[in-house]
């Protein structure tokens, strides 16, 4: 890139190049180094060291043709150097250094120089395909069922998405020190329980993938739900979940992963229309559909179709299919309610739970009338599971309102109001309540 002597105009360019490589490659490099070094902390240190070496060497030697392979190799050898240093006062480190060194020597046996550019293509142990596997390994490890659910989310966002501890804390409205401890404990657990760094075997794949999808969906919803807090940080969270969903679909084209990505994209397509200028929540039926993002809808609908065709889909795909039916309707009145109610029937069989039942009741009310819907909601509430769920009471209130039973509707809205914690929803319910009984 430039000559070795002194600072030149090329310095800034190389610094920018290193930065760009960091954004593009640091997570990939980390994923591979965790495999090669067998330890999260060692690998993170090695990533730091590798980029430090890049900042120092690239201005002199030029940006290597395959920066990723260069960084992996540099990180690996820096880590071994570090362990060697430590070995002088830590006996256990000596054995580890020896082990890692012989592995590295084995990998380097075929190609020539460790830091040469052709190493990546010659390195039999980790060709490009192998590197992609490392990212999958990292995702599956961060979402391992042995880790606490909160820890899975924090670890995935930090290690796979590259968010900082502070960014995660802001998005989840917690203290950075709390998130940091979750991450430290999760890494300890991975080490102590010897959680293997691997893509699960086909036999366990469905169950483990389900845990991964759950993390993605939680992250997405955290960013999508209109609650208080740093709105921008939360929106970014949805963006991260979508990015992660795309990565997962690219690495592992599983129907349910496609279904979840579709679901997230279809929800995301309505973001602009679901809150008013003053920040009020706008119900699906009242949204300005011209503000829906058509390209996200196209992408989401296409994914739903692919997933449905596979015949191996599950709840996420079905929810996405329902969302796609809504997306296809030009107006709320034009919604194909029989199809939606039918999809809820299938969803209820795939994933029997009271919230799906509630949504199905609302769809039935649209198809067969408010009376039929109310019967379903009442029997659901009588079962008790949804007694404290504000949306069950607001759905019931809505049906009562449509049936002209104003007094009962008012009671139900008030019940819903007492149960919700989200400000925009509170304002929405208050508005409904005041509309119910306009003072003469």
């Amino acid at each position: 890139v430039r000559s070795a002597d002194g600072a030149g105009p090329g310095d800034g360019a190389v610094a920018r190049a290193v930065e760009a490589v960091y954004r593009r490659e640091s997570r990939r490099v980390l994923a591979t180094l965790i495999r090669l070094l067998g330890d999260f902390d060692l690998a993170e240190e090695a990533v730091h060291e590798a980029f430090r070496a890049a900042v120092e060497q690239w201005p002199r030697e030029g940006v290597p043709g395959n920066p990723r392979a260069w960084l992996v190799s540099a990180g690996r050898f820096k880590a071994i150097d570090g362990i060697r240093r430590r070995a002088r006062f830590d006996e256990a480190a000596e054995a580890l250094a020896h082990h890692l060194e012989s592995e590295a020597a084995l990998a380097a046996a075929e190609p020539a120089k460790a830091t040469s550019e052709d190493r990546s293509t010659a390195e039999g142990e980790s060709p490009e395909a192998g590197l992609e596997d490392d990212r999958l390994r990292l995702i599956f490890t961060c979402c391992h069922p042995a880790l606490a659910p909160d820890a899975r989310i924090a670890l995935t966002l930090r290690e796979v998405c590259g968010l900082t501890t502070e960014e995660i804390a802001r998005a989840f409205l917690t203290e950075a020190s709390t998130v940091a401890q979750r991450i430290v404990r999760a890494k300890q657990k991975i080490k102590e329980a010897r959680i293997p760094y691997e893509v699960p075997a086909p036999g366990q794949r469905a169950e483990r993938l389900d845990a991964v999808l759950r993390v993605l969906y939680l992250v997405f919803n955290e960013g999508y739900s209109a609650s208080s807090g740093d709105a921008v940080a939360r929106q970014d969270l949805s963006g991260e979940a979508v990015r992660l969903g795309r990565l997962l679909v690219e690495l592992l084209p599983d129907p349910e992963a496609q279904g979840l990505l579709a679901l997230m994209l279809l929800h995301e397509s309505r973001r602009a229309a679901r809150t008013s200028v003053s920040g009020e929540l706008v119900l699906l039926e009242r949204q300005d559909r011209t503000r829906w993002d058509r390209s996200l809808i196209r992408e989401g609908s296409a994914l739903v179709e692919t997933a449905l065709k596979s015949r191996r889909f599950g709840p996420y795909t079905l929810q996405a299919a329902i969302s796609a039916v809504h997306a296809e309707a030009a107006t709320a009145e034009a919604t194909d309610w029989p199809q939606i109610a039918g999809l809820y029937d299938v969803l209820l069989r795939a994933d029997p739970n009271p919230i799906v039942e509630l949504n199905r009741a609302v769809a039935v009310a649209m198809r067969d009338g408010a009376e039929a819907g109310l019967r379903l909601v009442d029997s659901l509430l009588a079962q008790g599971d949804l007694a404290d769920y504000h949306l069950a009471h607001s759905a019931r209130a809505d049906l009562l309102r449509r049936l002209g039973r104003k007094e009962e509707a008012g009671d139900a809205y008030r019940k819903a109001l007492a149960l919700t914690r989200q400000e925009p929803e509170k304002r929405f319910l208050e508005k409904r309540l005041s509309d119910l009984d306009p003072t003469p």
């Binding site: 730091h48 060291e49 570090g82 006062f89 830590d90 900082t164 502070e166 950075a176 940091a180 991450i183």
Partner: protein, 128 residues
């Protein structure tokens, strides 16, 4: 981000150690200290004279008055501090964990406290 790391210890317990124990402690610290200095995170590091050498200045009845320190009369006192540059709190924890105070000296109340720095400026007084 920059983080201030405060290294605590019980001065009385340290002073009560025998010469051999102090030497052993010093040797145990040496490697960890080197580790901390490697890695390019350390911005500055300092160790302090005992807390009885402290002077505290505070406003009293509208005037500035002097008091013998330390500010807080606790068993464990700050014996040193360092400032590190890290990507986030978890990286800061990883780096600060290499300080001897986080690894050895359990018997003399050693601990390292990490505080995120919100504003940082190097004044002219810190000349070369």
């Amino acid at each position: 981000m920059k983080y201030l790391c405060l290294a605590y210890g019980d001065e009385k317990k340290y002073q009560a150690l025998s010469k051999a124990e102090i030497d052993a402690f010093g040797i145990a610290c040496k490697g960890h200290d080197e580790e901390l200095h490697q890695g390019g995170h350390l911005a500055l590091i300092a160790s302090l004279s005992p807390s009885r050498s402290s002077t505290v200045i505070r406003p009293r009845n509208g005037k500035t008055e002097l008091f013998d320190g330390p500010y807080a009369e606790t068993k464990e006192q700050v014996g040193g501090f360092f400032i590190i540059e890290a990507r986030d709190l978890n990286e800061a924890i990883q780096v600060a964990s290499k300080h001897p105070g986080a690894r050895v000296g359990e018997n003399i109340g050693c601990a390292v406290e990490i505080r995120p720095i919100e504003f940082f400026e190097v004044g002219e007084g810190l000349g070369k």
